[in-house]
């Protein structure tokens, strides 16, 4: 599971008012190289919840991202920053671990990089 995916997932348990972001429990992180695409990064940037993303990257062991979101102009010119953004967003994978509902603590397992978001009957 990439952090781009993590930034789009939320807990859907009945009664939970704020299920985003899911807390990450790491067992195994894998780095998978992907070709960088600057335009893609610029397009996706406005859709990213930056705080959730930068917090998640630190939990995954990557400390290069600022806590505050950069100004959009940074993405136009700062190639070094784009590289870090790209790496954290697309190249860090939670291979084994879990995602926890921020309100209830319920664990959604992540196995072979695939989150299992199925709920039990009493959570629906």
């Amino acid at each position: 599971m990439r952090l781009l995916t993590h930034n789009m997932l939320s807990s859907n348990i009945k009664g939970v008012t704020n299920g985003f972001p899911l807390r990450i429990q790491v067992e195994k992180v894998v780095e998978k190289q992907v070709e960088i695409n600057h335009d893609f990064l610029r397009n996706i940037f406005p859709k990213i919840d930056w705080k959730a993303f930068s917090d998640a990257s630190r939990i995954m062991g990557y400390n290069e991202l600022p806590e505050e979101p950069p100004e959009p102009s940074v993405l136009e010119s700062d190639v070094e920053f784009l590289g870090k953004f790209h790496h954290a967003l697309l190249e860090l994978h939670l291979e084994e671990g879990a995602l926890l509902c921020p309100e209830t603590g319920r664990k959604f397992p992540v196995s072979k990089g695939i989150p299992n978001m199925l709920l039990l009957e009493d959570e629906v």
Partner: protein, 292 residues
């Protein structure tokens, strides 16, 4: 265990067991091909027909080729092994998230995405279409290609499709329905129900609804530009072709190896043809747009 849970487990197991065989013989698109009614075709045209199904669906929904209006984020509800997800991600340069009940399918989908150089654009999760793990309004395009027939509680299913659609975004729902009921009809005829029950049993399908049931649900959610069509005549060659593939040596041996659930599914294929021929089963497309 509730019946919904039993159904979910059945669906997951059916696809865990059958996906490999299907992919081996038919490739990574687990949906009908779209054919011109009067044309002749050869066996090799089916893959092209499956791609055409995707393109015709996009066209029906009015998804244009204009770059500014193309979807940037897509959810593939009932994604199978990700055929649609990868196609759409590649076509639009979009981010696509697929959900399936089958862990085997999700894993295979990820492997195929990596093989095709799309690992940065598509991701797959095991999740329930009736309880999608996404916040509201995430996706420019909500895509459900032949998965709606598996959903119990159609109202919940449509509600979730609607919830995750972004303002101004589109829903494309292609699914098996039963015929619309006449004005004086409360339900299908007993023989029609019996036919569908046998199909439901083999394919892990809950009760069917009609195309106009879906339209009414979307109307009640205030969606705009709601369009629906019956594409049954455009998919007619598909099931006979699938049956023929089961009778090839490769198909037959694969069936024997795959398991009882898959075999049962294969045996019921003639009923699908019967259902279409008798006008009970309709291959429907329903599309609409969320107001800005």
């Amino acid at each position: 265990m509730s019946s919904d849970r039993v159904l979910q487990d059945g669906i997951a197991e059916f696809y865990d067991q059958s996906s490999g065989l299907w992919e081996d013989i038919w490739g990574d698109h687990m949906h009908h091909g779209f054919y011109d009614p009067a044309s002749n075709f050869s066996a090799s045209d089916h893959r092209a027909a499956q791609i055409r199904m995707i393109e015709e669906s996009l066209r029906f929904a009015g998804i244009t080729d204009e770059p500014e209006k193309q979807p940037k984020t897509i959810v593939d509800v009932g994604c199978g092994i990700g055929g649609s997800s990868r196609y759409l991600a590649r076509k639009f340069g979009a981010e696509c998230h697929g959900i399936t009940l089958s862990p085997v399918q999700a894993e295979r989908a990820n492997v195929l995405a990596k093989d095709e150089g799309l690992a940065d654009k598509v991701s797959f999760q095991v999740a329930d279409a009736l309880k999608q793990p996404f916040p509201d309004g995430q996706f420019d395009l909500v895509w459900s290609m032949e998965s709606g027939e598996h959903m119990p509680e159609k109202a919940k299913f449509v509600n979730e499709l609607a919830r995750v659609t972004a303002p101004g975004g589109a829903i494309i729902l292609v699914t098996w329905c039963h015929r619309d009921l006449g004005p004086s009809e409360e339900s299908l005829q007993p023989w029609e129900k019996k036919l569908l029950d046998r199909i439901c049993n083999a394919y892990y399908l809950p009760e069917w609804c009609s195309t106009s049931d879906y339209v009414k649900l979307l109307q009640s959610l205030s969606f705009q530009d709601i369009k629906a069509a019956d594409w049954s005549e455009h998919v007619a060659p598909f099931w006979p072709a699938v049956i023929r593939s089961a009778f090839t040596w490769k198909g037959f041996m694969s069936l024997l190896r795959s398991g009882l659930k898959t075999i049962k599914g294969a045996l019921v294929m003639p009923l699908m043809i019967q259902g279409y021929q008798k006008g009970v089963i309709k291959f429907a497309i329903i599309t609409c747009r969320k107001p800005e």
